[in-house]
Amino acid sequence: MDIRKVKKLIEMLEDSNLNEIEIKEGEESVKLVKAGSNLSQTLVAQPAAQPLEGKSITKEEPEKIEKDTEVEETKKVSGKEIKSPMVGTFYGAPNPGAETFVKVGDNVNEGDVLCIIEAMKMMNEVKADFSGTIIDIVPDDAEPVEFGQTLFILE
């Protein structure tokens, strides 16, 4: 399951009155339980019978972790991160509607342009600090990003 989806679910859960959400998608399922709820302070990601492919939040983790959801999420990130050098708006393509600089699965070399962060009409190119394969692009297009926020995960 896409880590961004899990992130969205966490946000939805936090904003809601619910104590837990469980989502099944084909073979995969994720159950999120709100920290501090009287059910239990756990985030449980249940692997289905078959092994999950690619990145997944369950891959290297035991079934139950006594952590709150946010800590949980950052902990599950594997691979090297490329972070935003500034506050701004994330753009994956040079122009609206154009092909994105990179996509998940691409091999990139050090120095390749990955995205643009726009702030006050300054378009700032972000390049890869190292070579690798892109396993996740964290922000959605045109989403605001903070300084130091993870943009890409490479391995």
């Binding site: 701004g88 122009n95 609206p96 006050m120 009409k121 300054m122």
Partner: protein, 264 residues
């Protein structure tokens, strides 16, 4: 519509109008026709401590923000890009506003044109835009390369392709003899001069001056960013962010695709 005082762009003349500055070298590149002056300097490998000035009589693909085109008919306007290097970790918050201020101030000094800046940096005269700025930065060899793209409507008096209210220096003041070489030389000098101050003190040094010429100040605008709700524009802060008030709540805008509609 050709203006009789319309001199061609000329390297030597531009150079003669540059204030002596701290760059060891200046390279001026003039083209009859180019796709985009920003694109040219963006792709060019530049030397340290060198200022690059690129201008053209005509741009085939003049760039605005996003997919927008900047109308660039032959000989009528200024299509200018500047490029130089800054320290990698320079804090550039508000830099794009400073560039707008430098252009506004240059035109005021040269021709007494008292224009206003629409945040972040479009330049307006009486509700009509005549100058747009697009800045790109990229990291190269541990330095930050900056490309400042500037379009100023100078002699243009008709154009059917522009989908917003626009004007030009000639339309603002039909009596003045505008000289593109002079404007390029003077405003380049001004931008460099302000940049040095900016590197020392940041945007805070320019905050008051910007707010004096802040086109949106006290206007009621709507923006898609705020679901079409009315925003009252206040001032810019010390980092160049725009302070607005939405339903009595103060907010700071720093980025994003903002298309303001002014309600007045």
């Amino acid at each position: 519509m050709k203006d009789v005082n319309q001199n061609p762009l000329n390297k030597k003349i531009i150079n003669s109008f540059l204030d002596s500055n701290e760059f060891h070298k200046v390279k001026i590149l003039i083209f009859e026709e180019i796709d985009s002056t920003n694109r040219y300097l963006s792709d060019l490998e530049i030397d340290k401590n060198t200022l690059y000035i690129c201008s053209a009589e005509k741009q085939i693909r003049g760039k605005g923000r996003g997919n927008k085109k900047w109308e660039s008919p032959t000989g009528q306007n200024i299509y200018l890009s500047l490029s130089f290097q800054l320290e990698k970790n320079s804090n550039l918050n508000g830099y794009s506003l400073m560039v707008g201020l430098a252009i506004r101030d240059s035109l005021n000094e040269l021709y007494g044109i008292n224009s206003k800046i629409k945040w972040p940096n479009d330049i307006f005269f009486e509700n009509r835009k005549f100058c747009g700025i697009l800045i790109e930065t990229k990291f190269e060899n541990n330095l930050r390369k900056i490309i400042v793209g500037i379009g100023i409507n100078v002699f243009m008096q008709t154009n059917d392709h522009i989908d917003q209210d626009w004007t030009s220096l000639k339309l603002i003041d039909g009596e003045k003899k505008f000289d593109r070489n002079l404007i390029i030389g003077k405003l380049t000098s001004k931008i460099l001069n302000y940049s040095k101050t900016f590197e020392k003190y940041g945007f805070a040094h320019f905050q008051n001056a910007f707010n004096q010429h802040n086109y949106l100040k006290n206007k009621i605008v709507t923006s898609e960013n705020f679901e079409g709700k009315d925003c009252k524009v206040k001032e810019v802060d010390a980092e160049g962010k725009l302070k607005v008030e939405i339903e009595k709540e103060a907010k700071l805008i720093s980025s994003g695709e903002l298309s303001f509609k002014i309600k007045e």
